[in-house]
């Protein structure tokens, strides 16, 4: 039951990139059949669709088979040293926040030698995308057990079996307060594409574990879970706002009894109403931690996005501090900084010494730094006046003037499906908000009608809208920026996003409207 629909962020007009732009002109030297090929291929397909110019991608890696990745990407790349890619990636991102930094690591590089750095990268929430290839073995050093190898794993360095308990990479990430945690696997490019897109859209550190096969030293590392014959029953694909249903027949679900997971067999005509819905934006850790703890064969292994929450990034906070420091201490004036708070002046030998306790008083006459200040200021202005930047930074509330709330039509959850269809038709809409007692309960789209109602024998008059709606939809606040809204929509694969105006009810914004606004404002100013 792997879903495939994706809403992809728009491509700016001037950059028409294709997969070929990202293929480096060198031979790829992984073993034939290695899972890394499929991952590389998928990334080369995803990067051109992200709307980021090629020169702004930086791929940083550590040491190991997966860490050869940067050499195969025709982007800026840095193959660093074992375990330390998080440090270098942090430096790159901090130096130039406009770069899209992707870090490639493995189970040994990321969780053994580099575990400390990875932990701190995640907790700092620096806007870096981390792809951890987990094949449960050391490949480049020719086959030793790794921190994710199962207990009893027999390899050259563990002839009697490993006695280390393995670590769960997702538990590691969650305990490090990662704001985005996901899992995918190497043999499903569609699923990888969806997850990489969601990671790219996330603002902050995105951690993606990729279950990956090593044909030489740990062949079929994940075959009992991801093989085509078994995966429908062995994998649980997490979709936000939907119940945790899985199975070839779509007939089983996971439910939590407190923190204890249990499998529910769904009767043929059972309603899924009482099943809990996946909510990746849960700000707590317990739910995602419990999900990440589901292990095959006792349970299906979840894949997809476990957790995606927003939290100010390190870069944003660092920028704010720089602004604050400028407000508090004033614009740069190197001469006065060098003089410090207390200085004295010797005018000529043996003469009086004048003691100053305020540096600013004498600064101007010694050196005029206005030209330097002006230059820096102009540079900043240029950045702020970039039309794309300012379009993305615009608050949604200011767009509502153009795309007013007047067009939002709502419906009660108890209303019939027929009424929903009628309203959609009458107002020529794609989407209705389901509102009860001034609270947003769900959203019904024309797509829901097509997928769940059309060509079924559903009694449209007797079936309530709540049966077919998407419950607890993600929403934007009116103070969110256009960029925030695009983020949310691409992460959740939505085309419409309710906008919460608090007391004033709800508005709605569509992907067409957002992209239209960005396009016209860039066109007008550019």
């Amino acid at each position: 039951m792997i879903a495939t629909e994706d809403d992809k962020p728009a491509e700016p007009k001037e950059v028409k990139l294709t997969r070929r732009d990202f293929v480096a002109p060198v031979d790829v030297r992984w073993c034939p059949g290695c899972g890394d090929y499929a991952i590389l291929n998928t990334i080369q397909n995803v990067f051109p669709t992200l709307g980021i110019p090629r020169e702004r991608f930086v791929v940083v890696s550590g040491i190991g088979c997966s860490s050869r990745f940067p050499y195969y990407m025709n982007t800026y790349g840095f193959h660093t040293i074992h375990g330390r890619a998080p440090a270098v990636a942090t430096g790159v991102k901090l130096a130039n926040p406009e770069l899209s930094v992707w870090m490639i690591t493995g189970d040994g590089d990321g969780l053994s030698i580099g575990g400390n750095h990875l932990m701190h990268l995640l907790r700092r929430n620096i806007d870096i995308k981390v792809l951890l290839f987990n094949n449960k073995v050391y490949g480049l050093t020719k086959g030793q057990y790794s921190p994710t190898s199962e207990l009893g794993f027999i390899k050259k360095s563990t002839p009697y079996g490993s006695i280390d308990y393995p670590i769960n990479p997702l538990h590691f990430a969650l305990a490090s307060q990662a704001t985005f945690v996901a899992r995918t696997y190497d043999t499903n490019p569609k699923h990888m594409t969806r997850i990489f897109n969601a990671a790219a859209a996330h603002k902050g550190t995105a951690f993606v574990e990729i279950l990956q096969n090593c044909v030489i030293y740990n062949n079929k590392a994940w075959a009992d879970i991801v093989a085509r014959e078994v995966r429908d029953d062995a994998l649980l694909d997490l979709r936000d706002g939907r119940p945790l249903i899985y199975g070839k027949e779509y007939n089983r679900a996971i439910r939590f009894n407190g923190f204890t997971p249990e499998i529910v067999e769904l009767e043929e005509d059972a309603t899924t109403d009482d099943l809990p819905l996946h909510h990746r934006s849960d700000s707590g850790y317990n739910y995602a931690y419990a999900l990440a703890g589901l292990e095959y064969p006792a349970f299906p292994m979840p894949i997809g996005v476990f957790r995606a929450v927003e939290r100010p990034t390190y870069g944003e906070q660092s920028l704010l501090q720089a602004r604050y420091a400028t407000e508090k201490r004033g614009h740069r004036n190197l001469q006065s900084l060098l003089m410090g708070g207390d200085y004295w002046e010797v005018e000529e030998k043996d003469a009086l010494i004048k003691v100053h306790q305020d540096p600013h008083a004498r600064a101007d006459s010694l050196a005029d730094e206005m030209d330097v200040i002006e230059e820096r200021r102009a540079e900043r202005e240029k950045y702020i006046s970039d039309p794309l930047f300012s379009a993305l930074a615009t608050r949604i509330s200011s767009l509502e003037v153009t795309y007013g709330t007047g067009r939002v039509i709502s419906i009660d959850p108890g209303d019939s499906v027929n009424r929903a269809i009628m309203l959609l038709k009458e107002y020529n809409l794609d989407c209705l908000l389901v509102i009860q007692n001034k609270k947003l309960k769900g959203i019904v789209t024309s797509r829901d009608i097509v997928m769940k109602v059309a060509l079924t024998d559903m009694d449209r008059e007797k079936t309530a809208v709540k049966e077919i709606m998407t419950a607890r939809p993600d929403r934007a606040e009116s103070w969110n920026s256009v960029g925030d809204a695009i983020n949310k929509m691409s992460m959740g694969s939505f085309r419409h996003l309710p906008v919460d105006h608090n007391e004033q009810g709800y508005g709605m914004i569509s992907v067409q409207e957002l992209l239209g606004y960005v396009y016209t404002s860039v066109k007008d100013k550019g």
Binding site: T80, E345, L352
Partner: protein
């Protein structure tokens, strides 16, 4: 608004009766919680305002609050001030202020015969005497008064008397007593009070009762000579002949902070400074963190490995990556420095050395990381090494280190020392218009970018930074050919190793000529590097006065060595190399020049005294 305080020659009354001295060394010693560093700093500030040249030496234990009254818990602050050019904090104190028996026990052996000894008596109780290892009260020994000019004061009682009307609790009052000692020394040496009072006012401005009490205490100390029966000696030290200009007091680590900000301005690049707290380098991180309005981004990393990695990442992205640490942290950074050598990225690693090996003596000074800087990496991995000679010199040297790193696309190691980092001296503030310009032209548009194609003169590669369209490329720790492709070709490896080494060697082409001070040729040449500067310079000055044909060279550039050094060596009969290690630079000289230089090693966690160096030179003459 600027406040201008005019301090005239004779601040204290009765100046004509004062004993005239060219320079004086005073040491304050007490428990590490007694505020010795604070009053030492204030005495220094006051001395520069009195027009003297100064040099200071804070000496404190690694423990924040070692058990009170014990020998290891003693904290000291020595200051040398005078009317001449002051080069060191002084060999031996002329005056000692001892706050308790342990301070007396530790420091008395250093005090010169007949020196001024001010002892706080209220701490001389049996428990403290026992902790200091005294079987009997040393103050009862009449010998003490014969050997030294002894002044016994009950500072606790005097402080209580002075603060009779203060609303503070007696515990708080008792804590003011270090300021009584400070006020007393101000009177003895005719230091001005105003600036200190102003400082007290601003430091404790939010607690007016406390500020008031501290000021009262300082004044009480200042007036002890008048209000008590105690007879005090008084001294006068003329103002130093200082060239005109704007001055401030600066420590080595503060000078590094300012140098980094200045280099950022004159290179038009922001700085990313990654660092992990370690004594005695932490104050560089703390200082830079304040200057975010200058485009300085600081990261307190999870360890030294990450600290240097963050700096390298920033350098790759086009800014200046810098890190600062001490020996143990520098050891952790070795692999990353090798990566910067291989990828030829600019990087500055500042190692504020302390006594090793391992944790060693964290607050004590040493110069034993020279070999570590030169050779502490795997493979053929040459890096330029620079050393700072004094607190003020740190400013110029860090700018020079950044110039070399940017110009030659190489990691640079800058060696400082605990002695320089914590010590302070007056510093002539440079005019920012005369700072070196560090701006480098980027690769011209349209020009072909070959990753390891080199500048003909410097052999530096031209780095292109991410974000520039059409120049996408990858770098990494694997050996590459000129085009930046991974290569296992044996001859290519040898060629690239040769080029990287030659590039570092050519840095010496950019040095100014080496200065020889003192005799230009003759019997003995002293070659020093780092913080031994003051002791060597003072020694040469003394020896020249005595008529000896001796000269000195002080190396800022330890690797590669200046081209003209061999010629200078040839002009002297003997070469003496004093170092706070077991002879590391001496060994490098022997290997490079095949001459038998004489090593003068010292590894006691303390700097050289002038006398130690002079004695060795005389032995060679």
């Amino acid at each position: 608004m600027a406040t201008v305080v005019e301090s005239k020659k004779n601040v204290a009354p009765d100046s004509s009766d004062r004993i005239e001295r060219a320079s004086i060394v005073i040491r304050f010693a007490g428990d590490s919680g007694d505020g010795m560093q604070t009053i030492g700093e204030k005495f220094s500030d006051s001395s520069v305002l009195a027009g003297n040249d100064i040099s200071t030496f804070p000496d404190f234990p690694a423990e924040i609050r070692a058990p009170a009254g014990t020998l290891p818990g003693i904290s000291g602050f020595q200051i040398h001030f005078g009317s001449t050019d002051i080069l060191t904090p002084g060999d031996a104190p002329d005056a000692l202020v001892a706050m308790n028996p342990a301070a007396l026990k530790v420091n008395l052996p250093d005090l010169i015969p007949s020196g001024l000894l001010i002892v706080n008596t209220d701490t001389f109780v049996p428990a403290n005497l026992a902790k200091a290892g005294y079987e009997e009260n040393p103050l009862d020994d009449p010998e003490l008064g014969r050997k030294y000019r002894l002044i016994k004061l009950d500072l606790a009682q005097l402080t209580m008397d002075a603060l009779k009307e203060s609303p503070l609790r007696s515990v708080e009052k008792a804590r003011c007593k270090n300021f009584l000692a400070l006020g007393l020394t101000y009177w003895i040496y005719a230091r001005p009070l105003e600036a200190t009072e102003k400082w007290i006012g601003s430091k404790w401005g939010k607690k007016p009762d406390l500020a008031d009490a501290v000021i009262r205490t300082v004044r009480a100390g200042y007036h002890i000579g008048e209000t008590t029966e105690i007879e005090l000696p008084t001294y006068r030290v003329e103002r130093a002949q200082i060239e005109s200009g704007v001055y401030r007091k600066i420590s080595g680590n503060d000078a590094i902070v300012l140098g980094i900000v200045a280099a950022s301005e004159s290179s038009y690049r922001d700085v990313v400074f990654g660092s992990y707290p370690i004594t005695p380098a932490s104050s560089i991180l703390e200082g830079l963190a304040e200057h975010k309005n200058y485009g300085i981004k600081t990261v307190q990393a999870e360890d030294e490995i990450a600290a240097v990695g963050i700096a390298i990442g920033a350098s790759f992205a086009g800014q200046i990556g810098i890190t600062a640490t001490s020996g143990p942290g520098f050891a952790l950074m070795a692999e990353f420095v090798g990566l910067a050598v291989m990828t030829e990225l600019p990087l500055v690693v500042i190692n504020v050395q302390r006594a090793g090996p391992s944790t060693g003596m964290p607050t004590k000074t040493e110069q034993a990381d020279l070999f570590q800087a030169m050779y502490g990496r795997n493979g053929e991995s040459p890096v330029p090494v620079l050393a700072a000679a004094s607190p003020g010199d740190c400013f110029d040297v860090v700018i020079e280190a950044i110039r070399i790193a940017l110009t030659y696309c190489t990691p640079v190691v800058l060696l400082s020392e605990a002695y320089i980092a914590n010590g302070a001296e007056p510093w002539k503030v440079p005019n920012v218009k005369r700072l070196p310009k560090l701006f480098l032209d980027p690769l011209p548009p349209g020009e072909d970018h070959v990753i390891y194609r080199r500048d003909e003169k410097t052999l530096a590669r031209k780095a292109v930074v991410p974000g520039r369209r059409g120049y996408e490329h990858q770098i990494g720790g694997l050996e590459k050919n000129e085009r930046g492709q991974v290569s296992y070709d044996p001859l290519n490896h040898e060629k690239m190793i040769g080029l990287r080494a030659e590039k570092v060697e050519r840095i010496a082409d950019s040095y100014p000529p080496t200065n020889v001070h003192g005799s230009q040729s003759g019997d003995v040449l002293i070659v020093g590097w780092g913080g031994t500067y003051g002791a060597i310079a003072a020694s040469i000055r003394d020896l020249q006065t005595e008529g000896f044909a001796v000269g000195r060279v002080h190396l800022r550039y330890v690797n590669p060595l200046p081209h003209d050094l061999a010629d200078i060596f040839g002009r002297f009969k003997k070469i003496l190399v004093p170092e706070l290690n077991r002879g590391q630079l001496a060994q490098i000289f022997r290997g490079k020049f095949l001459i038998d230089v004489v090593s003068l090693p010292k590894v006691q966690g303390r700097p050289f005294t002038v006398a130690e160096i002079s004695a060795k030179v005389k032995e060679l003459l």
